[in-house]
Symmetry: C2
Subunit: 436 residues, 2 copies
C-alpha cells in the first residue's frame, strides 16, 4: 500500500505557494497517482497573518519551523525557504526526526549536500531534490532512473533562465549586457542583486548536483570553474552568429580520462544543435550516455508552479515508495566517491576548442606573429578572420578559432600573445562546445 | 531489499541484442543502481546457432519461447520479437506464470494492450513499456512520474524517425518524397516495405500509448485519425519554410472540452519552436501540463542500444520495486476510462488552423470566390498569397492560411471550393500546430 503523506511546508513564497496550489487543485488526480492522499498539514512562515488567509482553515500556520519537526503526524517536510539558514537546520532536524525531505534549495545542497545526504542515509529517509535542478524538468529522475542503464559521459545544460533570457535578448536586439540586465530586472527575470545568476554561481550549484547524481561523487563547489556572462560583449554574440554559433551560458560536467570536469562558462554552440535554439528564460539539459547516446530535456527552469510540479512529483514518489526498503531508492553519494569514480579534473587539463577576439595593430606581420605563437603551443587553428577595422584607422580585430586543445596550453599562448606590442588590449576568450 | 532479476529474453535482433550488450557491459554499474544483479538467463530465438555464438556460455539458448515461461527462476520476460504473434501469446503466458514483462512492442500494445494490461493487473505483475515509445527517451517515466503532479492537456511528438529523416532531407535538399525515401531505404533508415512508417501507423501506435498513459484511457487504434507523409510535395515544404514554418509528422493527443483528440498528420510548426528544429532521425515529444507548463524530451527514437537503454531502465525499476505492493506502481488503464476521463473526440470536431494550396485559374475574381466560401463557413483568413504561375500561363496557385476553426467546417469549405470551375486540381490541405 502507498503511504498517505502529511506535509509540513516551510516557506510560502514562490515555490511553497506553487506546491500548495497544485496539491489543492489536483488533489484527486494526485491521490489516484500516488495511491494515497497527499495533504499539507502545517505551514511554517515568517508572516503568519498573510499566509493564514491564503490556505484552507484546516492547515495549521505558525512562525516556528520546529512545529513541522515536532508534529508526529507529519511524515514529509517540504523545505521552500531557500538560503542556507534556517533551511539547513530545519532539514537536519526533520531527518533526525525520521521524516523525508523534499527541497528546491540548490544553494544549500551544493554547499552542504554531503552532510545532509549522509544524515538522510543513516536515518533511512529520502532527500528528494528534483525541484533543485532545472525547475519543472524531471532531469534528476531521468539521470537516476530513465538513463540508469547508461554510463553517462557528459552533461551540458542551460540551467539558469536569467542568463539565457539576457543572452537571447542580446542576440535578438544587439543591445549591451547592462541594458538587457536592467530590462530583465524590470520584467522580474533578474533579481535586484543579480550576482548569483549572472556570475554563474546558481548554474554551478545545479551543475554540482547533476554531476554528483550522474557520476556518484560528493558535491564540491570548490572544484567548479565558474565564469559568468557579465563581461560578454554584444559584438562577440554577433561575430559568433556570423560564424554559425550561438553563445549560451552552459554548465558542463564530463567524465574524462583526466578526471571529472566541472565548469560553468559562456560557450559557442553550433546553431543547428537543439541546445543553441533554447530561447528566453527556458532551461535545457543534454545528457550523453553510452547506450542512449544523446538526449535532451527542456522546460521551465523556474516559476511557482513549474517548480511546484517537481516538488509534488517527489511527494508522489515518496508516497509510492515510503514503505519500501530504502535500498530500493536511488541514493546520493555522500562524502565518498562511489567505487571506481574518478577524481575531479584540474581545470588546466580541460580539452576544449576556443574563440579568441584579439585587438591588434592593422599592419603587416601581426597575423603571422599570432599564428606562430599558436603553433609554438601545439594548437591548431581552425579559422582566422580579420574584422573590418572599427573606429581607429590603425587598429583592427582578429577572430581566431582553434581546434581542440588543452586549456593550460591555450592560456599560455594567450599570455604570450597578450605581451605582443601589436596586441592593443585584452584578448577575449570564449570556449566552443560542439556537442557532437 | 532489491530483487535479483533473471531475465528471459525473447528475440535477439536489434532490441534484444542491444539489451544484452548493455546488461553485459554495464553489469556492475547496473547492479549498483538496481540494488541487485540483473542477468540474462535464457534467450529464445529462431536461429539458435547464430545466437549461441553471440552470448556467454552460461546463457541457455533455445528456439522455444515456452522455455522462458516454464523456467521458474526467470522472473522477468523481455519480449523483443516484435509483431503480434507469437509476442502476444508469450506475454500473456509470462503474465499468467507471474512474471513481469518488459516490451518494446508498440504495435502489439496499441492493438492488444487492454487485454495485456488487464491480465497483468489481475496477476499483480508489471508490463513495462518505456522502450515502446520514442526509444531511448524516458517519456513514459516523465509522463507517469516526473509530471505526475500535472493535469496534462496535450502531447505533440515527432515519434517516427524515418519520417523525420525524410522530411528533414526533403527540406535540406528540395528533393521529392520518392527520391528521399529511396535514399532512406539505402541508408537503412526505412524498411523495404515502409508503409507502417510513412503512412503514420507506427506513430499512431506510439501515440495511443502516450494518450493512454497521460489521460487514463484504454488504447484504441480505431479512434486515431491517421495521415502519413507519402503525398507531401517538396513545394509545400518550401512554401511553409517561406512562411516561417517547418513541416513535421506529428502525433497529437489533446484533452479538450469535446473529448480526447488522437491524430497523426503532417503539420506546419513555427520555425522558432524547438520541435521544428528536431532534425534527421531523432524523436522529440512536447508535453503540456497545468503546473509544469511546456516541456520537451528529445533523443534517439530507435536503434539497438538506445532502445536497449529503455528496456534496461525498466528492468532496473522492476528490480527496485518488485517486492513493493503493486499498488505503488503506476498502472495502465485497461478496458475502462479512469474516473472522470472524457471520451474520444470526433475528428470533425478538432479545432485547428490550416494551410491550403489551391491550384486555380489565373484570372480576376478567383480569389474573391475562394474568400467568400471561406467566409460563408465562418472561417477567418490569416493570409492569402498568390504564387507565381508555374508552367501553364493561365493557371496559378493560392496559398491560404486560416485562423483556428473546426475541422468539419474546413472540410465543408474545401468541398465547396473544390467544385469551383476555377479550381484546377485537388486542394492540398495541411494543418498548423502553433504549440504555444
Amino acid at each position: 500500500m502507498a503511504t498517505p503523506i502529511k506535509v509540513g511546508l516551510a516557506g510560502f513564497g514562490n515555490v511553497g505557494s506553487g506546491t500548495y496550489s497544485i496539491l489543492k487543485r489536483n488533489h484527486s488526480l494526485i491521490t489516484q497517482r500516488a495511491g494515497a492522499p497527499i495533504t499539507v498539514k502545517r505551514v511554517a512562515v515568517r508572516n503568519v497573518d498573510r499566509v493564514r488567509k491564503l490556505v484552507d482553515e484546516d492547515v495549521a500556520v505558525s512562525s516556528d519551523w520546529h512545529d513541522l519537526v515536532t508534529d508526529p503526524e507529519i511524515n514529509v517536510v517540504v523545505e521552500a525557504i531557500g538560503g542556507i539558514e534556517p533551511a539547513r537546520s530545519l532539514i537536519l532536524a526533520a531527518i533526525d526526526a525520521g521524516k523525508h525531505v523534499v527541497t528546491a534549495n540548490k544553494a544549500l545542497l551544493a554547499e552542504h549536500g554531503n552532510e545532509i545526504f549522509k544524515a538522510a542515509e543513516e536515518k533511512g529517509v529520502n532527500v528528494a531534490l528534483e525541484a533543485a535542478v532545472a525547475g519543472s524538468i524531471p532531469i534528476v529522475k531521468a539521470l537516476r532512473e530513465g538513463l540508469a542503464a547508461n554510463r553517462v559521459s557528459s552533461i551540458a545544460g542551460i540551467i539558469n533562465g536569467t542568463c539565457n533570457f539576457i543572452l537571447s535578448t542580446m542576440r535578438d536586439t544587439g543591445r549591451s549586457f547592462d541594458d538587457v540586465l536592467a530590462e530583465a530586472q524590470r520584467l522580474g527575470y533578474a533579481e535586484a542583486d543579480p550576482t548569483f545568476d549572472i556570475e554563474g554561481i546558481d548554474s554551478a550549484h545545479k551543475l554540482v548536483l547533476l554531476s554528483s547524481i550522474a557520476f556518484g561523487v560528493p558535491v564540491n563547489m570548490d572544484k567548479v570553474h565558474i565564469e559568468g556572462i557579465s563581461r560578454l560583449e554584444a559584438k562577440d554574440i554577433k561575430f559568433a552568429e556570423e560564424l554559425g554559433y550561438r553563445i549560451k551560458l552552459l554548465g558542463i560536467t564530463k567524465y574524462t580520462d583526466y578526471g571529472i570536469e566541472l565548469r560553468v562558462h559562456p560557450a559557442l554552440v553550433p546553431m543547428r544543435r537543439l541546445l543553441a535554439n533554447v530561447e528566453g528564460a527556458m532551461n535545457a539539459v543534454v545528457v550523453k550516455g553510452d547506450a542512449a547516446e544523446s538526449s535532451l530535456y527542456y522546460g521551465k527552469g523556474a516559476g511557482s508552479e513549474p517548480t511546484g510540479s517537481a516538488v509534488v512529483a517527489d511527494l508522489i514518489d515518496i508516497a509510492r515508495t515510503a514503505d519500501a526498503n530504502v535500498s530500493e531508492r536511488p541514493k546520493m553519494p555522500t562524502t565518498q566517491h562511489n567505487p571506481g569514480a574518478k577524481d575531479f579534473a584540474d581545470f588546466g587539463d580541460t580539452v576544449c576548442s576556443y574563440y579568441l577576439r584579439i585587438p591588434v595593430d592593422d599592419r603587416p606581420g601581426v597575423l603571422a606573429d599570432l599564428a606562430r605563437i599558436i603553433a609554438d603551443n601545439n594548437i591548431s587553428i581552425e579559422s582566422l578572420i580579420q574584422r573590418e577595422a572599427p573606429q581607429k584607422e590603425d587598429s583592427t580585430e582578429v577572430i581566431l578559432m582553434t581546434h581542440s586543445t588543452i586549456e593550460s596550453l591555450m592560456q599560455r599562448a594567450i599570455r604570450t600573445m597578450q605581451q605582443l606590442k601589436s596586441v592593443r588590449g585584452p584578448i577575449v576568450v570564449l570556449r566552443k562546445e560542439e556537442l557532437q
